[in-house]
Symmetry: C2
Subunit: 310 residues, 2 copies
């Protein structure tokens, strides 16, 4: 059995071993001082910043979710927000609440999952630059991820106009289906992989920005909830044709409309948008007005996605 | 009784009401999109970044610590790290785990304490630019604070050289004394105020940088622990004369040597350092070697400050 750390500086050293593998272009001074000291963004760029958390019992269960999947999801949540802005990730901070049972193998696997995801995305300059650790009753991880985008060009939720087409990337409902399968004891399969190891759409986000998308956000809480947010931010009505929804293989229409954690991109673009070669599907359009309308059923689409406090 | 929020968007609106009061120089797009969009640092400056957490039962007790003090301490922990680098704070992210009992008045007071501290420090351009919320069994707050400093000029832990004088700001042991008094039922007094509402030494940090300090860090885990870290980072031996320690009124020598959460600055400076007008005290010097030596007792000073995992 490996010799695992039992005090704060040894846990920091354990994290640093992974951190070093992620390159070091962002920081002049990384982990180990009161603050990281970071290079300014490239000339002509603005900084992007987001924070996200993953909490035991709320976002995952020890019994069903491998530690590697938890680590992968923590960093994916942050990276997906950078993708939704059409940005490039630069560095991140990690704040951990660690109960006794996480020391050693579980934490090692958690970190492995996080840095495997970073490697898979070939983010060789994306760097862990600092963090904070505390002993706690239950596990949670809080990540602050930054990125950069050309000044004035980041994709906002508020940029949609009446007449814009409404699009989504990939397929919807796979994570919700995977979660149900996991709860009923399934051990593998595409939907399970989708739930456990979602993929932030970084390359697509940058490409959408280049091709003139007008608005974007990531689908973390479910289409019905997130689309209502985009319609409100843009001051328009969103109209979705349910028949056009690209459902994940085996997912129900309800899972496609309301299921969370797909981490696909929801975006708007002018009518002449060129989608050649992109894994995206037109699902409706924006009009003058407010709210979300499900055109094939002729009714308003209520937000039934995830709300932590409902 | 006031009407307090019960769903995620209403809690976000509650936070935004406070956030707006803190100005808006840092962000082009603040709370409400997938990411904040932030101006690059001023020309010739590097970015500073740190993350810190405050957890129920580990860092405070509901029974003894007012919500305002918790909010004040969360932001002070981050700002104190910026102070230790000699930097100016620019923006922050806030990630909250919220149990039911925090909804309403407690959260309102928590936010009030946080933004009162920001106002007290006259940080009119320091801005809350984003966050994340989740329902949870117990409360924690995770803050990521950024700042900026002239390129190459941030004060590091690793900058001390043999021959440098060793200094601390303010008085030590007040927070440890206050914590003991609080636990024994005290309701007010200077030590209690020191424990509940510590003060990040932002102005002093910038002034130390201007006056040529060689190394600095903030005292969060206790002098004996933090000084050992500085000596190790700088590759020198630290020699402290215990008789010179500026003890907080009523604090014991042990509280001064090992007590945490004073948030004073520990720093090194050349022998000709001009301390005129600064609230600082020379307590020893750095020499070639390693470790920490308590000269008035002629023994090594063991690190007995705070370690979450010991």
């Amino acid at each position: 059995m490996k010799d695992f750390p039992r005090n704060e500086s040894e846990i920091i050293a354990q994290i640093q071993r992974f951190g070093r593998s992620s390159g070091g272009a962002a920081a002049r001074i990384g982990i180990g001082d009161d603050c990281a000291v970071l290079h300014a963004p490239a000339a002509g760029c603005e900084l992007l910043a987001t924070t996200d958390q993953v909490i035991e019992t709320k976002h995952f269960l020890r019994e069903t979710h491998p530690a590697q999947a938890v680590g992968s999801k923590v960093i994916t949540r942050g990276l997906s927000d950078i993708a939704a802005m059409g940005g490039r990730p630069t560095w991140f901070l990690l704040s951990l609440q660690l109960p006794d049972w996480t020391f050693g193998e579980w934490l090692e696997q958690f970190l492995q999952g996080m840095f495997d995801k970073i490697d898979e995305l070939q983010l060789s300059n994306f760097q862990l630059v600092g963090g904070d650790l505390a002993a706690a009753e239950s596990f949670s991880a809080h990540v602050s991820v930054t990125g950069e985008a050309r000044s004035g060009e980041a994709l906002l939720r508020s940029g949609a106009s009446p007449g814009d087409g409404l699009w989504v990337s990939g397929q919807l409902g796979g994570s919700a289906l995977g979660f149900d399968l996991l709860a009923s004891g399934a051990k593998d399969g595409p939907a399970l992989a989708r739930h456990l190891y979602p993929h932030p759409r970084l390359e697509l986000g940058e490409e959408l920005r280049r091709r003139g998308a007008t608005a974007a956000m990531d689908l973390s809480d479910g289409l019905s909830t997130d689309l209502a947010r985009m319609a409100e931010a843009s001051g328009v009505e969103a109209r979705v044709d349910g028949h056009l929804l690209p459902l994940f293989d085996g997912a129900s229409r309800e899972q496609g409309l309301h299921g969370g954690e797909d981490y696909e991109l929801l975006f708007c673009a002018p009518a002449d948008f060129d989608s050649t070669g992109l894994d995206v599907t037109a699902i409706g359009e924006m009009r003058a007005g407010s709210g979300v309308w499900l055109t094939d059923e002729g009714r308003a689409l209520d937000a039934k996605g995830f709300d932590h406090f409902r």
